[in-house]
């Protein structure tokens, strides 16, 4: 099968991969680049587990062909925090508010919420619920995720 050489700027680092045209971005990140923090829950764009930031915008990496984002910038959960082990305000708020249980959907929520708060640093309750309504979580009932988004907004405002 014909392969295509692509370069993705992932979490600020240029990464090369040679992939068939049908390779999904989610599989490319996970299996070609070894960035397994991005998870795949449904492979049809509904659950949002695979959400990454493509040039800053949240996208479903399971509905994106890797070759179609050649040359673009991608941020995954591994790139949200600062250097070393430091957590981003969104990650920190999720820990403080117990906004995750099994953690499988969490990377998708973190990417979604990071973009949400960048665009709207002080969302209302309704805006938060609306903003995360494209991501499924089967563990938390969303109660503490909503809290965490508000808490992250607070932390970012500090």
């Amino acid at each position: 099968m014909r392969r295509h050489d692509i370069t993705l700027v992932v979490n600020g680092v240029a990464r090369q991969a040679s992939v068939p045209a049908r390779r999904l971005l989610s599989d490319c990140l996970r299996h070609d680049l070894g960035l397994t923090g991005t998870h795949v829950g449904c492979e049809h764009g509904v659950c949002g587990c695979c959400t990454v930031l493509l040039d800053g915008q949240p996208v479903r990496s399971c509905l994106t062909f890797a070759v179609s984002v050649d040359g673009h910038e991608i941020t995954t959960v591994e790139g949200l925090g600062g250097d070393g082990d430091s957590l981003s305000p969104v990650q920190q708020a999720f820990a403080e508010c117990h906004a995750l249980q099994c953690g499988f959907c969490t990377p998708g929520f973190l990417c979604t919420v990071t973009a949400l708060l960048r665009d709207n640093p002080a969302p209302t309750d309704e805006e938060v619920v609306e903003g995360i309504s494209g991501n499924l979580c089967r563990c938390t009932g969303y109660q503490n995720i909503v809290k965490a988004v508000h808490r992250a907004a607070e932390l970012m405002a500090e």
């Binding site: 397994t36 049809h44 959960v77 249980q101 099994c102 969490t106 499924l136 563990c139 938390t140 009932g141």
Partner: protein, 786 residues
């Protein structure tokens, strides 16, 4: 004690790795592994005439193709029937790959191994299976008529039939009590199929090195998967290790084992001498794992003028799908837990467990309880309505009173033990939930309604769990237990228990679960049992370690062990902090050494220690090392309880249901970590809301699952789950050392009942079937309005 962490809202120790993408879920492992895909049956019922794999052989990257014909003797046998029961007279299980007949859409027929999953699926697409399509059996009542059979040798499609009867105090049967009661009601109640639906599906990854097999599985029971693999692959148990890595949710479905894939993937890894991995995709999860909930219930109840139940008779049709590997646990739980917090005069319950050509049924969070609670709570509401009484008052009149514990319901529970409630305070709980929701001051307006539902949940079923605790010479405490974790925060709560018991900072404690290399004896994580079972086992193991530490420290400090205590990881004489010895040093002294490998070890070597020359370095009855192992094996389950109340609003035009308020009062005994318990309740309620208003498995008459994707199986997003208000009551369990009860399933159990109650109140229509969609509510309105 300064290190009192039991009961505190300690932040989770799992979170740093899970928040940074460093979790290790099944598909994150084995980057070098070959990939497996399956050809699965597209038919609900068919005979396999021929399998032609030749088309697949030219696929680039194809490594192997296996059908039933290729399986060795033990693998060719039917999969185990995990929980036999005398009433399960016609239990049937599938073969790992279909033999002759397929009995549901999704049953595995051919296994393909290739260099990657894309190529494996290419090959699957080129394999041709010739089927003779047979008439499928779909729908529980059609199946119960027995005109068509799922298994030729199972007459009437009846896998099991069971009756349990509890007579009234005066010896009368339920039927007699109902017939002579002042009032009787009879009605039918339905609950449809749903499923656990964790966001991570199943998955198996196996490595074979020529003599040892290591298997990773996204399972709720690694120890039992290990034994199943050893048996099926005829390997000595010590040569098989099974590890449950980070698991992306279970909710019951992953307690089922061994899945065909859990046997086939390790087998292929051994045959091929290369690591092999299978990761379930979402469609596979819908059609080839397990479902639950589908039951029809016929209820007859007799009661007096005050609404006190005198006799109750329930007849249940349980749809267990095509196979019964997990036995009849679900209808047994429905039958027994149906009684809830009530003292029912006389009770008769009968169920038939029926085969259909659909995905098999195994427990899903709640495990038959949501159906049982739906029956009992609908019954309470109907009695109240019939008599014109307050729904809460009718419940209260039937409650078991706080001074009646232990209360024997006179039945046999799912663990084979008597159904005896250990403790509880139901009147107080009702008072709390009424206050929380504002029951007495509810302002009834058109198209709004309030509802209430109560339940009792048997948790912490046996037979046992164990814990191992080791203090190493760096002062760290290593805790392991065999049961697994799927997001419950075990690494945190078990560390809280160990830190509290041993008097060490929690930062020094690490916890490993679900790894048979660390702890080989376990049952698994299900039935809200992990905290009760492993929590107590770990506490008992810690107490052994503590006792040994105090003994050794007493020697070193020339003190009486009874005068010592441990705080912040240091053993010291009570009231004399100067006379002390760190636990790390005690660990050194506990292990007499010949060789010094670091400064700590040097202190325990033979010429350095002050051991008495006339005594053996390891005293009789002692073992080297500061470690302990213990088990907790309860005589029977401990019974948690809860009461939920909700206020709903129904749209007069679209019949959409909006939950305006949702209140939970919950009693799981002593709370280890309230933050985590609340999280469990939130998640359970959300799943309950899904099950009450949105989620169902829609099979057509051909046995095709029409909504096998997240686009059509509607799980709640944040927009569908209301804010959940919670309050706790703590009635300790007298059965275990920590006084705790399980909390994992609680939230989901009464949600269909409470929402049915509230919708009924809003609409003035009987709600006897859940889930209820806007279209169904609309049609109910139409048939009422003629």
């Amino acid at each position: 004690m300064t290190t009192q962490l039991f009961g505190e809202r300690v932040r989770r120790r799992e979170d740093p790795r899970l928040l940074t993408g460093q979790g290790r879920y099944l598909d994150d492992l084995g980057r070098d592994a070959l990939a497996v895909a399956f050809v699965r049956s597209p038919h609900a019922h068919a005979r396999i005439r021929d399998i032609d794999v030749s088309g697949a052989l030219d696929v680039e990257g194809l490594v192997a193709v296996y059908t039933y014909e290729d399986l060795p003797e033990r693998l060719a046998e039917p999969l185990p029937l995990l929980i036999p029961h005398p009433a399960l007279t016609h239990g049937r299980t599938a073969h790992p790959l279909a033999k002759d007949v397929v009995r549901h859409v999704g049953e595995p027929v051919v296994m393909v191994v290739a260099e990657d999953r894309y190529l494996a699926e290419d090959a699957c697409g080129l394999i041709e299976v010739d089927y003779e399509v047979l008439k499928p059996v779909v729908g529980i009542e059609e199946a119960a008529q027995g005109a068509q059979l799922v298994h030729e040798d199972v007459p009437g499609n009846v896998g099991a039939h069971m009756v349990q009867e509890v007579p009234a105090a005066d010896g009368r049967s339920a039927r007699e009590a109902i017939e002579t009661a002042p009032h009787t009601l009879a009605f039918r109640l339905d609950i449809e199929r749903s499923a656990s639906m964790p966001l991570e599906g199943r998955g198996v990854y196996a490595r074979w090195d020529g003599s040892d097999l290591r298997v990773y599985s996204s399972t709720q029971t690694s120890t039992s998967v290990r034994m199943a693999i050893a048996a099926k692959l005829e390997l000595p148990l010590p040569h098989v290790e099974v590890i449950a890595p980070d698991v992306g949710g279970g909710f019951g479905v992953k307690i089922m084992h061994p899945w065909p894939e859990e046997i086939l993937v390790p087998w292929a890894a051994m045959l091929l001498g290369r690591p092999v991995k299978w990761t379930e995709d979402r469609r596979e999860h819908f059609v080839s794992s397990a479902h639950e909930r589908g039951q029809v219930h016929y209820v007859r109840v007799g009661f007096d003028d005050e609404g006190r139940v005198q006799g109750l008779e329930v007849t249940i049709l349980h749809d267990h799908g095509a196979y019964t590997p997990y036995g009849i646990i679900v209808p047994i739980i429905t039958s027994t837990q149906l009684l809830g917090p009530y003292r029912i005069g006389a009770y008769r319950v009968e169920f038939s467990s029926i085969y259909t050509n659909t995905v098999q049924v195994t427990p899903y969070r709640g495990a038959g309880r949501p159906q049982g609670v739906f029956c009992m709570e609908r019954t309470m509401d109907k009695i109240a309505q019939y008599l014109g009484l307050d729904r809460a008052a009718v419940r209260e009149r039937n409650f078991i009173q706080p001074d009646e514990f232990p209360y024997d319901q006179g039945m046999i529970f799912q663990d084979g033990r008597p159904l005896i409630y250990d403790s509880g305070n139901y009147p107080e709980m009702l008072r709390m939930v009424k206050e929380l929701i504002g029951w007495d001051s509810f302002d009834k307006r058109p198209h709004t309604g309030i509802g209430l539902a109560c339940y009792v949940e048997g948790t912490g079923v046996g037979p046992y769990e164990g814990g191992h605790v080791q203090v190493t010479s760096d002062g760290r405490v290593h805790v392991s237990t065999g049961l697994t974790s799927q997001g419950q925060g075990h690494e945190t709560v078990f560390a809280q228990i160990a830190a509290t018991e041993l008097g060490v900072p929690i930062e020094k404690v690490s916890v490993v679960t679900g790894d048979t290399r660390r702890f080989g004896y376990a049952v698994g994580t299900f039935a809200s049992r992990a905290a009760v079972m492993s929590g107590n086992a770990i506490a008992l193991a810690c107490r052994k370690v503590r006792e040994k530490a105090l003994r050794i420290a007493a020697d070193a400090l020339e003190a009486d062990p009874g005068d010592l205590e441990i705080t912040e990881g240091v053993v010291h004489v009570k009231g004399a902090p100067g006379a002390s010895i760190p636990l790390a040093t005690v660990a050194v002294l506990a292990n007499p050494l010949r060789y010094a490998f670091d400064e700590e070890a040097r202190r325990a070597t033979q010429f350095a220690s002050a051991a008495a020359p006339d005594r053996p370095p390891v005293a009789e009855g002692e073992e080297p090392g500061l470690e302990g192992r213990d088990y907790y094996s309860p005589v029977r389950s401990t019974f948690a309880a809860g009461m939920h109340a909700a206020i709903v609003e129904t749209d007069p035009d679209t019949a959409e249901v909006r939950i305006l308020r949702y209140a939970v009062v919950h009693d799981c005994g002593r709370l280890i970590n309230p933050m985590i318990v609340e999280g469990q309740i939130h998640g359970g309620v959300a799943q309950g809301v899904g099950g009450a208003l949105y989620e169902r498995m829609v099979y057509d008459s051909h046995g095709q699952l029409l909504n096998a994707s997240f686009m059509d199986f509607l799980m709640p997003y944040a927009t569908e789950v209301p804010r959940i208000e919670t309050a706790h009551l703590e009635t300790p369990s007298p059965l275990n050392p920590l006084g705790i009860k399980g909390a994992g399933e609680a939230g989901v159990i009464p949600v269909s009942a409470v929402l049915a109650s509230a919708i009924e109140d809003a609409e003035g229509l009987p709600i006897d079937r859940m889930p209820i969609s806007p279209a169904e509510l609309y049609h109910l309105r139409q048939s009422r309005d003629g």
